[in-house]
């Protein structure tokens, strides 16, 4: 017997899709994508049926993925460069606990996408289009498409710059990135794609040994974590870094990606606890890597070295006298990894969203023949962004900071759609947002909007900050 859906949920309570065959019988329409997903679910059911620590650990292994990927994927080229710029400009202080706080915000927001995906088995773009209509749907898609494309450009800049540290030519660096991207895709299995990308994403933790090589002052780190001090000066540069660091942890593509990946993985209501753990685990790993990056470049602040014109490779070069060639190489490799993993996840999020709004097949379980449009959108996004990066003379640091700022500005409208969906009883049934989550998430919207407004004021009327005691 097929598993029954929860009667509390109207969206998921439909009967299976059927078609009438020549002899008049009704048969259920099943695709290759369904078969692959079913194989994954059988392993989950088998692990769930057994008792004991090992079975529980196996279940966890089978169900982690979208959360870790989205969080480590968001520790991308521009994000790591923002953290590096933060450490080099402000050293150890306010920004260490601030970055940890932004990841807590990310957990609250991303958990909602797990519930939405598991409850409806629909992607985020699809739900916005169907529920609120194409007018608002297209606004949301345009925000996503512009944000994703700009971010993808910066991922390839990070890859190019990181490999540049080793003397690799830009076109070779881009080629290597594409080889890895297609190696993950060629399996045409969500599970294999997820494991390959996870293996690459874990390399994000390479910033931790780099930080240890700089011999951080742990007393200062502890003091900063508890007191949030020393505080940075209140000026335009600080605001830009604040926005860039927020944009390094919460961005619209994350909402679309994690919900679509949750659906593609086949997660159901029973798996939501594991989805939450997956998200929190990803956030913890990403926080560790982000804080490590700030600590790694903090010595540049102590040595009064300006970071205004540093690119990814130049941060590594600047650190070389302090941590040696090996440490600097790890830093550069970390930048390459950050760019590659994000290029994979962001281009996949664009392809998912395109398939969802056009109602064309959209799954990493699709064979190439059945998912032509899905793989074409994924490849075209990545190729166009990579081509732009091969143009010489792009001002990297400024571009990446602006990209993160754009991500923060686009986040409040995306969050409002998310809240409306996750509070929609007809869609979510008994999984609607609890009150505390609504309060926290409303606070996140106000914080993001407020930060955006302050940034706007700092640009339009910079003298206001001087009048308030800043520079």
């Amino acid at each position: 017997m097929p598993p029954q859906n929860d009667p509390a949920m109207s969206v998921g309570s439909q009967s299976p899709p059927t078609t009438r065959i020549a002899n008049g019988d009704e048969v259920v329409i099943i695709t290759h994508e369904d078969v692959d997903r079913a194989h994954d679910r059988v392993r989950v059911s088998a692990a769930r049926a057994q008792r004991g620590f090992l079975s529980h650990a196996r279940l966890l292994w089978l169900l982690v993925g979208p959360g870790v990927l989205v969080m480590l994927g968001e520790n991308d080229g521009p994000s790591m460069l923002s953290y590096a710029a933060t450490g080099a400009k402000f050293g150890v202080g306010f920004f260490i606990p601030f970055v940890a706080l932004t990841f807590c915000m990310a957990i609250v927001v991303q958990e909602m996408t797990v519930r939405l995906g598991a409850a409806t088995h629909r992607g985020h773009a699809e739900l916005i289009f169907d529920r609120f209509g194409p007018f608002w749907g297209w606004f949301s898609m345009i925000d996503l498409a512009i944000g994703n494309f700009l971010t993808l450009i910066t991922e390839f800049i990070a890859i190019r710059a990181g490999m540049g540290f080793f003397g690799v030519r830009p076109w070779v660096a881009i080629l290597i990135a594409f080889v890895i991207l297609y190696a993950a895709l060629m399996s045409h299995r969500y599970w294999t794609w997820e494991r390959i990308t996870l293996a690459a994403a874990v390399f994000n933790l390479v910033f931790i040994p780099v930080a240890l090589m700089t011999h951080p002052n742990w007393h200062s780190v502890g003091h900063a974590l508890i007191t949030w001090q020393p505080l940075p000066g209140f000026n335009k540069d600080t605001l830009l870094i604040v926005l860039a660091d927020i944009g390094a942890t919460v961005t619209p593509w994350m909402l679309f990606f994690q919900q679509s990946a949750t659906v593609d993985k086949g997660m159901t209501r029973k798996d939501i606890h594991f989805g939450r753990f997956d998200t929190a685990l990803g956030a913890a790993l990403a926080t560790a890597a982000a804080v490590a990056t700030i600590l790694a470049t903090a010595p540049l602040f102590a040595h009064q070295m300006t970071a205004d014109n540093f690119q990814a490779a130049e941060f590594a070069q600047a650190l070389q006298p302090l941590i040696g060639r090996f440490g600097a190489s790890l830093f550069a490799l970390g930048m390459v990894e950050a760019g590659i993993v994000a290029a994979i996840t962001i281009s996949t999020s664009s392809a998912y969203a395109f398939g969802e709004v056009t109602h064309k097949p959209h799954s990493l379980n699709l064979p190439m023949g059945e998912g032509k449009s899905f793989y074409a959108v994924l490849s075209l996004c990545a190729m166009a962004a990579a081509a732009i990066v091969l143009i010489p003379g792009l001002p990297l640091v400024y571009v990446v900071l602006v990209v993160n700022v754009v991500a923060v500005l686009a986040m409040p409208p995306a969050l409002v759609f998310l809240f409306m969906l996750v509070n929609d009883k007809e869609v979510m049934g008994d999984l609607v947002n609890p009150l505390w989550a609504n309060i926290v998430s409303t606070g996140v919207v106000f914080l993001l909007t407020g930060a955006g407004v302050l940034f706007g004021v700092s640009i339009v009327a910079p003298n206001i900050f001087a009048a308030l005691g800043g520079k």
């Binding site: 099943i30 695709t31 369904d34 997903r37 086949g266 754009v406 869609v427 955006g452 640009i459």
Partner: protein, 72 residues
């Protein structure tokens, strides 16, 4: 108008029963072709959505201005 459909992929009967026993109905790829019913947006919701849309457009203009100043 008749819509062109791809030829159905041959799925073995064992795979069919595997799918039906392990996936929920609405997890099937073809089930996603059904639209979810549209929701009527209320006044306050429209106000919030339009306010944020205007905010975003204004802020993008500010970012554009900042980039223009930086380039100059």
């Amino acid at each position: 108008m008749v819509k062109k459909e791809h030829a159905p992929v041959l799925i073995s009967s064992s795979d069919q029963s595997l799918v039906l026993s392990s996936l929920e109905h609405d997890q099937l790829a073809r089930a996603k072709r059904h639209f979810i019913p549209r929701r009527h947006l209320k006044g306050p919701e429209l106000l919030v959505l339009w306010s944020l849309r205007i905010y975003l457009l204004f802020m993008m203009a500010v970012v554009g201005y900042q980039v223009w100043v930086a380039v100059r």
